[in-house]
Amino acid sequence: MNGTERKEAGRKILTLFAVVLLLDIVLAAAGLWDRFWLYAILINLISIGVISQWGTAFIAGGNLHRYERFLSIGFPLVMLFAWEMLVRVGILNPMWFPPPTEVMKALWELSTEYDKFNETSLLGRPWLIPEMYREFGWEGIKILVGESHLIATLTRIFLGFVFGSIPGLIIGVAMGMSRTIRAMLDPVISAMYVVPKITILPLMMLIFSPFGETYKIVTVAISVFFVVLINSMVGVREVEPILIEAGRNYGAKGVQLFKHVIVPGAMPVIFGGLRLALGTALIVIVAIEFVRAKSGVGYITWYYWEILKPPKMYAGLIVIMILGIILTYGLQWTEKLVIPWRKRRDEAKEQRMKTRTVKP
């Protein structure tokens, strides 16, 4: 990037900035923000995007990575700030759209205060741990953990995921390997795969008991099962034929071929399936907790909607979001352990990102 280009970019940035600022001021002076706030905000955000793009002209090649990280944190903050301001100046109704600061406060209350009325405590009153331990020993801690909504949801997801993915993996791989098994099961599986899994909830309540945890976990497990099964089958079938041929030519057969060629070859697609399944599990468990549970993150979100406390409802949403992020990262971390030959690829990519330079 040479001097003239940089000058040019600087001029463009300043011009756009001035125009948008002028627009904002004119709108404010004319009292038109109330009517046109959505368009005004959109114009402002788009302008920030354009300015950030032009701004790359001023970033030296080595700093590009840092600049991108700054944008990926900064832009969401800008959006939150816009939300906050819109509420503060009275454009948005704080009853329905509590400002981010309010939501954060609600989240803090949710985790630190005990709602006696519905026995809600997000984390299970961790501040009671020493006391309960003194009084009841490990039993006391178990009681505390048991009342935590976060743990309740996590347990259901975990058990459902384990009980669903293991059979899904085994049957999926078997279907991938054997034409016969595929012929027998494919129509049934395909038909059941397209059914939205939450619709089997009543059936599960009928088969198991409509009380307790079993039907919830089984519903999650079945949702997970189909996703993992289909992906395992596809993963096995899409192992490159030439690699299987090479495996056979170098003496692998039976279990050896399976262990050294087919399983590792199918692993990337299988992990893709596990990732999808985790997302599905989260959707299904939250839906179940909306309608049928007296504990769990989905339950508290729904509860605070019913008693009309939107800040806490938003806080529940944030917890679900964080849960999703943590689970996804957990799986990614496992994937790196199990598929090391891909980990290196990511690292190599990162290395390239770091050394990427803009030509002078």
Binding site: I242, L243, E245, A246, Y250, G251, H260, M267, W341, R344
Partner: protein, 269 residues
């Protein structure tokens, strides 16, 4: 010298929805122990099909072929190993484990197989890359891994299916010379498929020409050049003359392939 590969009137017919296609017809070939034989032919002529039959990956429709096993060969010595055009090395194994793969399948203890593996990694010039995964290697390096894997497994015969065809011209030239050097240090029986006349002249002891589909034996040339050979050979007048002679014989077949059209060339490769 004794015979190593004996193929007698091998024929392969593929059934297709449009009717049977004869890929190879009455193809007979005898290869001596320690001989490097190149099969050259136009694309789609069935030379790869023949190699796959010899490898035992697909059955012949009719005809007879066998690989003669040395009576004093070690037990468990594999009949054949292929070097594939697409490398076909395992992305999930390191270079060291890829080269040791055949040995691992034969349950050779870890120490011994790594010793052999590292030796071959050195001989193909990949020292320092033992613990790399294939995606970190260039095309030429991947093919070195594939070649090392085949040699390390020490089969009765080596089958090479256009191993250098996927490489760029410069890498290919380097690899041709290396392949000559490696083979001259470890003279195995090799059946080498290629469509490059120069490559077959540089590498082979004998060149067998195949006709356009259905693939039949068209001609056979003894390569008179002394070993050890290197790339300088390709600039000699004898090389050019022989190369042109072979081309004259092959030209008709290539033109035939072009006339028949591209519609069905992919079935037999």
């Amino acid at each position: 010298m004794s015979k190593k590969i004996i193929a007698d009137k091998v024929t392969k017919i593929f059934p297709t929805p449009r009717g049977p296609i004869t890929a190879v017809k009455d193809f007979s070939l005898e290869i001596e122990d320690g001989e490097f034989v190149c099969i050259v032919g136009p694309s789609g002529c069935g030379k790869s099909t023949f190699l796959r039959i010899v490898a035992g990956l697909i059955p012949a429709t009719s005809g007879d072929f066998r690989i003669v096993v040395d009576p004093d060969s070690a037990e468990g010595k594999p009949l054949n190993n292929i070097v594939f055009q697409e490398y076909a090395i395992f992305p999930w194994k390191t270079v060291k484990d890829n080269v040791a793969f055949g040995l691992e399948m034969r349950n050779i203890p870890k120490e011994e197989r790594y010793e052999i593996s590292l030796d071959w990694i050195r001989r193909v010039g990949l020292t320092g890359f033992e613990d790399c995964y294939p995606h970190e290697l260039s095309g030429g390096m991947k093919q070195r891994v594939s070649i090392a894997r085949a040699f390390a497994n020490d089969p009765e015969v080596l089958l090479m299916d256009e191993p250098l065809a996927a490489l760029d011209a410069q890498t290919r030239a380097v690899m041709q010379e290396e392949l000559v050097r490696i083979w001259e240090s470890d003279q195995k029986t090799v059946l080498y498929i290629t469509h490059s006349i120069e490559e077959s002249l540089l590498l082979g002891d004998r060149i067998v020409l195949m006709t356009a589909r259905p693939g039949r034996k068209k001609d056979s040339f003894q390569v008179p050049f002394d070993r050890p050979r290197d790339l300088s050979l390709t600039s000699t007048p004898e090389f050019a003359k022989l190369s042109f002679n072979i081309w004259e014989s092959l030209q008709v077949e290539v033109q035939q392939t072009l006339l028949v059209g591209a519609e069905s060339t992919d079935e037999c490769e």
